[in-house]
Structure formats: C-alpha cells, structure tokens
Amino acid sequence: MILFKALFSKKSAIISILLLVLLLLLPQFLPRFYTYLFAMIFAICLLATSLNMVLGFGGMFQFHHTVFYGFGAYAFALFVTKSGLPLWIGYVIAPFCSALLGLVLGLITVRLTKLYFGMLQLSLGSLVWAITYRWYSFTGGDDGIHGIPIPDLIGSSTGAYYFNLIVTAACLLLMYIIVNSPFGRTFQGIRDNPERCEAVGVNVQKQQLVGQIIAAFFAGVAGTLFVTVEGSVFPDLMFWTFSLEILIMCLLGGWFIFMGPALGAAIIIMLRTFVGIYTEYWTLILGIVLMLLIFFLPEGVLGLFLKKAVPAEKREG
C-alpha cells in the first residue's frame, strides 16, 4: 500500500481505474468493427509506450523499435503454426525472443550514442526485415503467414478486445513501476546528463542495454497481441517507416508523459482508419499533421493539456 501511494497520485489512480472500467464495459455497446479497432489500438498503445520507455524516459534514439514488435509477432506466429505445443507457451516465449533480439542488437548499438545509435539501429533492424522478407521457406517471405489459429476464447473480436485490454493494462502498470523504480530514475538521469551519470558511477551502456532489452520484451508482447487480433503476420510489421510512425505517436501524445504515447497511438490509429475511408493518400495527411505538430505542438497533445490544467510546479520534470 505504501508502494502504491508512492507510485500513484490519487487523481491519476482514480482516472486510470475509471478509464479501465469504462473500457471493460465498452464492448457491450460497440459494433463489432469498433471492438476490433480498439483491440488493435491496445496493441499499438503498448508498443508506443514500450518505445517511449527508452525514448522519452531513457533518451535513447530508438529509431527502429518495431523490429522487436515484428520479431515477437513472427516468433509467436511461427511457434503456433510450426510447433504444435500449447498456445500459452507461445505467448510466454515470443516476448523473450524479442528481448533476445534486443540483447543482440543492443550489444552492437549501445556502443554508440545518440544519432549514431539511432542510425545503426535503423540499419540493423532493416537487416532483420530483409532476412524475414527473403526467407520464403521459413517466414513466408513478403506474403507473411496467414490464418494463424487462435482459439475463439481470445481470437474472436470481443475475446481479443478483453485479452488485449487486460494484457496491455497489466504491461502498462508494470512499465509504470519500472519507470518509477530506481532503475527508471537512473535511466532518466542518463537522459538528462549522461556524462554526469557516468562520473557518478553509473554504467551508462549497461543501463541502456538493459533498458533496450526490457523495451524489446514489451514490444514483443505487443507483437503477440497484434497476432491475436489479426491472425496474421507480414514483413511490413518491422519495416522502418512503421517505426517512425510509432515515433510520431509518441510525439503526438507527448513523450515526457507516461500515458502520452498511448493517447497518440489511439489518435493516429483512429485517424488512419477514418481518413482511410475517404482517401488513399493517408500518408500525405500524416506527413502534414506531423509537420504541423513539430511546428506548433512539440510537447504533444497530453503535454499541452497538462500544461493548461496543472500548474508548472506540480508537474514532475
């Protein structure tokens, strides 16, 4: 209980619980399409938040985060279609596969900093994409894998909704605890002043490596959630433009706020779905939105809202 009090202000706890209850009730009133859409949004919310854990709180230029997401989704899909073992084992194993990839890529990339780090990660992630794209016999190449059997309990649109909601909520809570743990605080220290952290005795590279592994793990969880909703995987899941779209979600929501990226993800997915009905030039609109955002709203939607609603001295840095 003390821990709980230390972590949550009363207001944010109440808002979170209300939101959760609302979302739990929602499928009773929503048409099927929207349950599907929301289930997808939950997966992307988790992905964006896991990216923000290293980006906004760790200050790492994680330019190719969706490679972990796609890797988790593929690991899960391949496990389900090829192994014949119970489904739940796949849900457990896939995130660890992503974490392993995070370790391998991280070992190479954390030696570099900032822009170098980001560009190298972008390139190495693209290698993973290229291998997935070409390896027809194993990953299905550019067709991907379709019709992955998910039992109706969690595979139907309502089932997927509840499953994704619960897993996402649990993971968000876990990430919130991590961000506010001593580890997370050190991470934010590195973001604000890596030299000083180094001088104080923090092993910056090791910390960043661990951060990347954790973020990759949660991205992997998001990948399995995607498969749960969609029942298929394809190489575009780990294409680099998708990674930058997730970055846009973080920016849109506000990346110094824990729930910002989730909000950004929800907004972007909704926009894409509804704009996509009217025009095929969705990326053009996304590009223009992004430009406007960078010029006029660099703190994001939630950032702006909090700035208006909460006086400056009450907000945490």
Binding site: L122, A130, W135
Partner: protein
Amino acid sequence: MEFASNITLAALFQQILVGLSRTTILFIVASGLSLVLGVLRIPNVAHGSLYMIGAFLAYAIATLFGGGPSGFWIALFLAPIGVAMISFIIERGLFCHLYEREHLMLLLFTFAFTLVFGDLVKLVWGSDYRSLSAPVFLQGAFSIFDFPFPRYNLFLLIIGPLVALGLWFLTNKTKIGKIARAAAVDREMVGAIGINVSWVFAAVFVIGCFLAGLGGALVAPTQNITQGMDHAIIIEAFLIVIIGGLGNIWGALLGALIFGLTDSIGILLLPQFAIVFPYMAVIIVLVFRPKGLLKSTW
C-alpha cells in the same frame, strides 16, 4: 546448398565491376546525405525520397523531349537541378526555422517529407513501373572475359570519380566549401565572424539534395523507376555514412565501396541472402571502429 559452387574468376571479376558501378550510385547518394549530416546535423530521411523524385523527374523530362538520346542528356542535366530547387524551397521555407531543435525533431520532420513526397509521387506518376532508356551508344555491352559488361555501367564508373573529385574540389578549394567545413565544426564562431550561416546551410542542403537527385537520375536507366525505391536506398546510404564516419566525403566513398563490393560478391556466394554480407561488413567495421573508418566532422 549451392554455396560458392558457381564462382569462377571471370564471374568474380564481372561481379566486381557491377559492384563498382553500384558503388558509384551509392557514393553519390551517400555523399549528399553525409554532407547534410556533417554540416547541418540533419539525418535527412527524405534524402531517399529526393533520389526517387530525381529518377521520376528524369523519366518525365526524357519523355517530354521525345525519349531520344538528347532527351536523356537533358534529363540527366535538369532532373538534379529540379530536385535541388525543391530542396531549396523546403529548406528556406521550413527547415531554416528548425535548426535549433533537437535531432529527433529534425529527423521526424524529414520523415514527414518522406511521407508527403511518397504520396505526391504516387499522385503525379501513379504506382506503375516506369523505365528510362539510355542513349544508344550507352546501351549494349562490352565483353570482358566472355562475359557481357553493360556499357552504361562503364559510364557510371567514369561519372563516380568525377563527382568525387568535384566534391573534393568544392569542399577543399572553394570559399563556400571552407566556410561550410568551418560551420560544421563551430557554427557560432562562423556566425560571429560575420558570415550568414543560415545561407551557408541552405547552400549545403541544396548541394546535398542535388546529389540525391543526380543519383536518382543516373540510376534511372538501370532499373525500374518505382514507388519504394526511396525506402531501400536511404537505409543503404545511412549504413554507408556510418561506416565512413559522419560527414566525411571520403568516408562515404570508402563505405560505398565496401557496401557495393560485399553486396555484389555476396550475390555469387549466397544469392538469396546477399543482403546479409554488407551488413556483416558494417558490424565488423563498427566492432573495431565504432565511429566509422575515417574521422567524422563531429
């Protein structure tokens, strides 16, 4: 597994020549990226889009002039200039207000252009394949060791060093080049001397994007001009810049050589996964020299 079973000396030699001509394109594009990165510190993701626009413009201009040999040369001349003009407009109109922002914002801003350009190209040219044919005397092939070697690739092999020399001359022997290099190291100091740094940046950005357009125009006769060619080249250019050292022109040349050659020889060894070889080279380079082979400007 047919690993390495089809390698003969002649095939190897031919692949090296092909790799070298591929290197030319990679070098021209990557050096532009490197220049912008080194001086302006913008990781310009839209560089690949400008390359694609260069190719499409070359196609459009050549078609406009009847598609004959003169059309090709005019396109080769005008398409990069067109790309340079586009880049000038976006730099003066938008980028120049954002130089104080952090790298991440700049990167996302250039990504916004990638998105917009991608759809604009689709709007203007549709999503069909386009192709551009080189003038007759550059078509066909020489035979080297009984293997055909396309004449156009030889043309590329001549252009590449010319561009490298031109860039070297520009950055080392001209006043603007010297100012630009100084601005890369310390922009406040250059500004304090009374030089308008903002316009220096504009010039560097336009030259960098000109190179992207030139690369696109040059590659147009060798492959299908299509949506998505922007996404492939930008990752390769990033890698090349990383191997070479950010902002170093010779590093870009070295990186392009490593990338082009490992890629083309890799095709002989393991056709399906040839793409793995350049990446392996990059990883090996970075294990030993995390900041790239040559000295970076920052």
